[in-house]
């Protein structure tokens, strides 16, 4: 017994949200094509997901900046820190800005925006007709060095990442775009800020069956993802500790969209 309403409802789901006229014309100069590729999660949600095929997708070349986010807040005042619903962001949302609609002298417009919740990051990307990258998409992009699409086997690259992540935090957050582009032409995936992903909470499900629990808790050598990748483990741990309304001084985001084939 299919009601017409249900058919329309599902048709709408399949078609996706009506494409909003892109607020910032997202030409390819702002976004890069990443993939296709294969993502190997540290802790797969199910045995069938030890290797996840990731179709090509578009990804912002750089994290969203304070200037970008201020323009969004000005167009969508319901996301001002003095108006946002408490459900969508904790009390530290945008709290480094001088005012709800002004960055002030201490905040550089070209720094990555931080102190934003998952809800806020999603809303920003939706306003551009985009979404947050999935964990698989983000990790695929982040696995590339300057010269290799998959640098996971490159010891020098991994040592450099570890050094980057354990370096003392500078007093002032650097601007975006100061690090060299990786293989895909994407910058700042490492060493600047942590970034939200759409399914950040998937980490909480990452022990879906008994074998995976054993694999992790028993420190089995059965490889699924690279357990020696400390930086990736840090990201996993961070994501598993997040809640959607949390904000922190070192957590930003970037947006993703469908690839050339229309898949995301």
């Amino acid at each position: 017994m299919l009601s017409l309403a249900w058919i329309l409802f599902v048709a709408q789901l399949v078609a996706g949200p009506p494409s909003r006229a892109a607020e910032g014309a997202d030409a390819l100069d702002r976004m890069a094509i990443v993939g296709p590729g294969t993502y190997r999660p540290l802790f797969p949600t199910s045995p069938a997901e030890r290797e996840i095929a990731v179709p090509a997708f578009r990804l912002d070349r750089m994290p969203v900046t304070n200037a970008d986010y201020l323009a969004f807040v000005n167009r969508h005042p319901e996301w001002r820190r003095d108006r946002v619903a408490a459900l969508f962001a904790d009390e530290h949302y945008l709290d480094r800005w001088q005012a709800p609609d002004a960055l002030g002298p201490a905040v550089d417009p070209e720094q990555p925006v931080v102190d934003v919740s998952w809800f806020a990051a999603r809303a920003y990307c939706a306003a551009r007709g985009l979404r947050l990258p999935t964990e698989a998409q983000w990790e695929l992009a982040a696995a590339a060095s300057a010269t290799k699409a998959d640098a996971s086997g490159d010891a020098a690259w991994k040592a450099m990442l570890l050094e980057l992540e354990t370096r003392p935090m500078p007093a002032k957050l650097p601007r975006v775009g100061q690090t060299p582009p990786n293989y895909w032409g994407v910058r700042d995936l490492h060493g600047l800020v942590w970034e939200w992903v759409l399914d950040f909470d998937a980490a909480a499900l990452a022990a879906g069956d008994g074998s995976d629990v054993l694999q992790f808790c028993g420190a089995s050598a059965r490889a699924s993802g690279d357990k020696t990748d400390f930086v990736a483990f840090q990201r996993f741990a961070l994501r598993s500790a997040l809640r959607a309304r949390y904000t922190t001084h070192d957590l930003g985001f970037r947006c993703a969209g469908p690839g050339p084939g229309g898949t995301s």
């Binding site: 409802f9 069938a48 997901e49 999603r122 909480a204 990452a206 879906g208 922190t248 070192d250």
Partner: protein, 203 residues
């Protein structure tokens, strides 16, 4: 660069991840300390506006039961074991409420599987559990809306490549304005705080 600050802000992220991974996975984080039953000053869920389609094929809002104490949870209809247990748990809390509290209380179960949970499929779930249609509403939300509602409720779900979902089981009690006042996570969670919160919300 930012690792230490994040770790300090977020507490024992590493330990927490370990606890979850060594716990019961889809069954909820049993190895974690239980979350506080009452969420102090939690903001109203009714700031969310997901598009829901109920078992009668009607479009409804999340605040369809505004003005009532509400039990809300998420599930999917073709779920083999965890969801029937979830529905049974909610039904048990509901059945054990004092009659005058039960008369005011409403139940909203939202499926994150809109493609399979058609109105007819939702009706079949309601019939299988003998749910009172006057006080129980089953509905489905599309992936984008479902993900946002799940995030607000602290529910994790993940579509599995072979079909079905991995997900956590969380039951939340809302007051008359949609503010979460109690939360129970995991299939074996203590449901007494849910019942007490509903009684307070009803009076």
């Amino acid at each position: 660069v930012s690792a230490r600050a994040a770790a300090m802000r977020l507490g024992l992220a590493l330990a927490s991840a370990t606890a979850i991974a060594c716990g019961h996975g889809t069954g909820g984080a049993d190895a974690e300390p239980p979350p506080p039953a009452a969420v102090a000053n939690a903001p109203s869920l009714y700031a969310l506006h997901p598009a829901l389609l109920d078992a009668d094929g009607r479009s409804i809002g999340l605040d369809v039961f505004r003005g009532h104490p509400v039990i809300v949870s998420m599930f999917y209809g073709s779920c083999p074991s965890a969801c029937p247990l979830l529905v049974s748990n909610v039904a048990r809390v509901d059945a054990e409420l004092p009659a005058e509290v039960r008369a005011q209380t409403r139940v909203l179960l939202v499926s994150f599987d809109a493609v399979h949970d058609t109105p007819a499929a939702l009706q079949a779930v309601a019939a299988a559990h003998h749910l009172d249609p006057a006080r129980w509403t089953l509905a489905a939300a599309g992936d984008d809306d479902a993900r946002e509602l799940a995030a607000a409720l602290g529910i994790s779900y993940h579509a599995l490549p072979g079909g079905g979902f991995a997900h956590t089981s969380v039951i939340t009690a809302l007051d008359r304005e949609g503010r979460p006042v109690a939360r129970a996570e995991g299939p074996a969670a203590d449901l007494v705080p849910i019942a007490r919160a509903l009684e307070r919300a009803a009076h």
